[in-house]
Symmetry: C2
């Protein structure tokens, strides 16, 4: 398999886009990414688009062709992939495989969700499709309630506190303040989080990522070609994906995500790296407890230590391992199909010293981690700064 | 890129499955395919699942993980791909690329749709998501009406008649009689089709493929390994995909499908074959007029000659080029996400001399053609009989 690098990225602002349609958002991100590496539409050989639930959000399927059409790049192959909230990460891996295989040299990967066209209740139902409709959602479980069960178990087993979870939200809102594309530009305190209403105890409103419109895109290129085309390619040195039971009831443990652990193990092996070699990571914090799971399951902290580490500031911008410098799903926003691709955008910016006020010093290796549902899909990518043309 | 072969296939019966759920159907097809080549679940390294609109049909997304979970093969990577009614074909191509790339040696590709859980009206809306929601469906265009426009134009330009379209339905129902898994086991006459009520003039009820539940699966394997594992592998000698405008209004011509023509041209080039080398084909006859488009755009007949050729019996089981020996979407049924994979199942059976009463004599090369929407995605695969272990 060939080496693959990112040579350009594009991101819309995340938030409530009443004035922009689904297709305008994905086109904006796509054009930014293509123009960002001085390419033109005709240079793109294939498209992979991550999108979770466009059928229920905007009554539209056939998203691959829609993106190609909107970007004016037909007749190239254009494919939508879906893996709930990991749709973006799986799209990135699909594009990666298409280039690694030799089938294509330059591929655009997009991620998109337009979630505000329906009521919050309808959005809840649509998002519920990420879990097990038959054994969970049909019986009244909401998505926050599934994560609340995991949070309770983690609290019971390891003494994790609501304040420690709140510390994730506080940090991510703080980082989001430094990200012009983030949905929230508002600092919150531990007290604010603790005072916010319960959505599904112990998870409160400010423990939950928001409903978001937004799109992200990256341009992938075979690495030799990437070095010629671009000053600052970022090599993808691992791309792994794992699955687990759709429903929580099928899990051996409720205090870890096995799919994350397996995908991470394979990614570290592939990249010949260890968790301590990672300089920063974007992880899947759909709820604050999910960030605590992630930083443990990715090996940055021992199981049960994630809450304490967060409370102690170890995951802050200047901490041991900066987590979610972009603001994460909590602060930047979570347009579900876009999230996995937006994480790669942040990794590219950090490794190009282009993350402005939220820049991690001496960042050479980054990791992104995208989860579908309550953990039935996990995708891990590791990125490395490499040199390109002068 | 490495050579890829099909080593096992599985198909559920197509029809209205009131007694089987979505997950039971896909598990049935998957287990048949895995057992058919004497493998076990643990031998499968990745899953690609084609499914169009499970969110709107059964309130469930995250279909890749669902399939892996239901088959008991977690934690392997499991990905859903969607390209409207071409979802199955695109899943097949995604699995093909995963094996061709060297990322995996053995991959399962599934296709599934459970369409009868909602009312026919709701199914119509869900299927409408294959077209352009903003410029077509929102304004009242139904899917049959889009194909009706194309049919009218073809009739005007080439003198194609309603009786010629009816001849597609008559042939496909006749072939379906010989396929135990087909939805319809009922011969229809030209007169029956002509007398059936208009759905969108000139298309009548018996010009339209039905609402169907069903699933299909194939096991892909790197060809050298396939020859060792299996007596009768079928090599995929071309796998191509093209896109076009989502809406009809963006097309240069309404009497051809450009995506089909481009995917076919690339497939013939890749396989170093010409249309006359193909011994049989499964083509996308969601409406009878679509079969006429397909046999012209795939190069089997000159543009404008498809209707006459069908009427003259040239596409019958013993004709010049047997088309849709399985019964096609019209006679076998059209569970949208499953269709592209089910076409590959038929190709495998034909090339293994296992198609029983509908067997094409001396079949060595087969072709499948899967379309998304009104032609915004087209996928073409070409298959060749090769020898395996004795």
């Amino acid at each position: 398999m060939r080496s693959v690098s990112i040579i350009g990225v594009g991101l819309t602002s995340f938030g409530e886009h009443w004035g922009k349609s689904f297709r305008e958002l994905i086109a904006e991100a796509g054009i930014l990414a293509i123009a960002g590496c001085n390419l033109e539409g005709k240079d793109i050989e294939a498209i992979y688009g991550g999108c979770m639930a466009s059928g229920r959000f905007i009554g539209q399927e056939h998203i691959g062709a829609l993106i190609a059409d909107q970007l004016g790049v037909t007749p190239i192959p254009a494919t939508r992939v879906e893996a709930a909230c990991a749709s973006g990460g799986v799209a990135l891996r699909s594009g990666y495989l298409a280039v690694a295989s030799g089938a294509h040299d330059i591929v655009a990967v997009g991620g998109i969700e337009k979630m505000t066209e329906v009521s919050t209740e309808q959005a809840g139902f649509a998002l519920g499709g990420a879990g097990d409709q038959e054994t969970e959602l049909f019986h009244g479980a909401t998505f926050p309630s599934l994560y609340a069960l995991m949070a309770r178990k983690h609290m019971k087993e390891f003494g994790t506190t609501e304040e420690q979870m709140a510390a994730c939200a506080v940090k991510n809102h703080k980082n989001a303040l430094l990200n012009p594309n983030a949905q929230f530009h508002r600092e919150v305190s531990i007290e604010d989080v603790m005072k916010s209403g319960y959505v599904a105890s112990p998870l409160k409103l400010l423990d939950c990522s928001p409903i978001t419109d937004g799109a992200a895109a990256v341009i992938l290129c075979e690495t030799k070609k990437a070095r010629k085309l671009c000053k600052n390619p970022v090599e993808i040195i691992a791309s792994t994906q794992a699955s687990d039971s759709l429903a929580l009831t099928g899990r051996k443990s409720l205090t870890e995500m096995l799919a994350t652990k397996i995908a991470a193990k394979q990614a570290y092996e592939h990249a010949k790296l260890k968790p301590k070699d990672i300089d920063f990571a974007e992880v899947h914090d759909c709820f604050t407890i999910a960030e605590i799971f992630a930083i443990e399951d990715l090996g940055f902290f021992k199981k049960g230590e994630g809450g304490k580490a967060t409370e102690a500031g170890k995951t802050g911008l200047n901490g041991e391992i900066p987590i979610n410098t972009s603001g994460g799903l909590k602060g930047k926003g979570h347009p579900v199909g876009a999230t996995g691709v937006a994480q790669a955008v942040e990794a590219f910016l950090q490794l190009n010293n282009a993350a402005e006020k939220r820049q991690v010093k001496n960042a050479n290796i980054g990791l992104t981690h995208n989860v579908g549902g309550s953990g039935a899909t996990a995708v891990v990518h590791i990125y490395k700064k490499i040199g390109g043309k002068k």
